[in-house]
């Protein structure tokens, strides 16, 4: 089979396509009247809703922190440190959402395939990295309710052990998720199993595609 034969085979469909393929003008008019929605818009809507949720949550946390600081006593220390870290992590999350929204609004498909797909993959990978950075706050949800008035001096060894195991396991989980959530682990079965749950499939596909793009760009000899 010669090289040009594939082109001849491919051309067999052209006559039929040109002759019988029909454009539905009514539907096309709906598109030009902006009645049809593009899929990135749902991401933009989601991010906008996320930004509003972040603002409300940050306001609530900040109010609690300001209240604790203005009525300061040593008993509030656990709360102040925990809530401060949770606020910092969520401020980073808020900034990520704003960044994603700005990126998603800027993406226009009229660029070279590599350029646009890199932008889209960068956006998707940044969304993944946002998810893993949010894990950092997990341990602090196990400490904000403690008070130096009763912890650790007034609790029994059972509670001490429970608290140590709880905070320790959340700390380890956060560290582990943060450290291992990366494209390099794509080939490992445990990683695929780990992210196969919520949204895992799109994460896997993004990472696969990220690797595919790297390979596609690389072979230049």
């Amino acid at each position: 089979m010669g090289h040009t034969e594939f082109i001849s085979i491919w051309k067999q469909q052209n006559a039929k396509i040109e002759k019988t393929l029909a454009i539905n003008e009514l539907l096309l008019k709906e598109v030009t009247n902006n009645k049809a929605r593009a899929s990135l818009k749902s991401l933009i809507k989601l991010k906008t809703a996320g930004i509003i949720a972040f603002i409300l949550y940050l306001l609530l946390l900040s109010y609690a922190l300001v209240y604790a600081l203005s009525n300061y006593s040593a008993a509030w220390n656990y709360f102040i440190v925990s809530v401060s870290v949770i606020i910092l992590v969520n401020v980073k999350g808020f900034a990520d959402y704003v960044k994603h929204l700005a990126w998603a609004n800027r993406i226009n498909y009229n660029g070279s395939v590599m350029e646009i797909q890199q932008q889209l993959t960068r956006l998707q990978l940044s969304i993944i990295s946002h998810a893993k950075s949010m894990c950092i706050q997990f341990p602090f949800y196990t400490t904000f309710y403690l008070s130096s008035e009763w912890f650790p001096q007034q609790v029994g060894p059972g509670y001490l052990l429970f608290q140590a195991v709880l905070t320790g396991s959340f700390t380890y989980l956060s560290y582990w998720l943060y450290k291992n959530h990366k494209p390099e682990n794509l080939g490992k079965k445990w990683f695929r199993n780990m992210i196969a749950g919520s949204g895992g499939r799109s994460v896997l596909e993004t990472m696969h595609f990220y690797k595919e793009m790297e390979e596609f760009n690389k072979e230049d000899e």
Binding site: I7, W10, I23, L27, L28, R37, S39, F209
Partner: protein
């Protein structure tokens, strides 16, 4: 260009290049419903980009860029899995009576099968090659060097040759 003129011109461009959209959608979506969604998404993105169309490029080049980017895009894939929020009823581009020409026995059918098995970026490259785009144009659409285009196309063609012969024998 007022809105009326603009949509008329857009319709003409779509009509003249409908084959491009159909072939890309066909190569990237085997499922008929997904294909309808993809064609809608491509059309929406083409319309959104129409204002910024740079007339130093051919309409077909502009359409390839946008349609291939949409076809490869993850956001479309994610959304097509969930079904897009407001699909238009019916398809923007279709054969009368939803006729199709997917088959596995003819040479064209075998070629379509081989294309379907390619990775997304290789698929885009091969579609452009089969549409007889020059290496220079493919390089511009794909965003890789002309040398890279030539190397990859040769590699895919060689693999197609082997597989094609095997499939023909079966």
């Amino acid at each position: 260009m007022d809105k009326m003129d603009k949509s008329d011109v857009f319709l003409c461009v779509m009509e003249a290049n409908k084959g491009i959209l159909y072939k890309i959608a066909h190569a990237y979506c085997k499922n008929a419903e997904d294909r309808k969604d993809l064609l809608q998404e491509m059309t929406v993105q083409l319309w959104k980009s129409f204002d910024g169309y740079d007339d130093q490029f051919k309409h077909s080049t502009w359409m390839y860029r946008i349609s291939l980017n949409v076809a490869i895009s993850f956001y479309r894939k994610e959304n097509s899995r969930k079904r897009i929020a407001n699909p238009l009823s019916g398809g923007i581009i279709r054969f009368p009576n939803d006729e199709d020409f997917t088959d596995t026995e003819t040479d064209l059918g075998i070629l379509q099968q081989l294309i379907a098995q390619l990775k997304d970026l290789d698929k885009a490259l091969m579609l452009l090659y089969l549409e007889e785009r020059s290496h220079k144009e493919i390089s511009g659409i794909m965003g890789i060097s002309e040398t890279n285009v030539a190397t990859k196309i040769n590699r895919i063609k060689n693999s197609f040759r082997q597989k094609f012969t095997q499939l023909k024998k079966q």
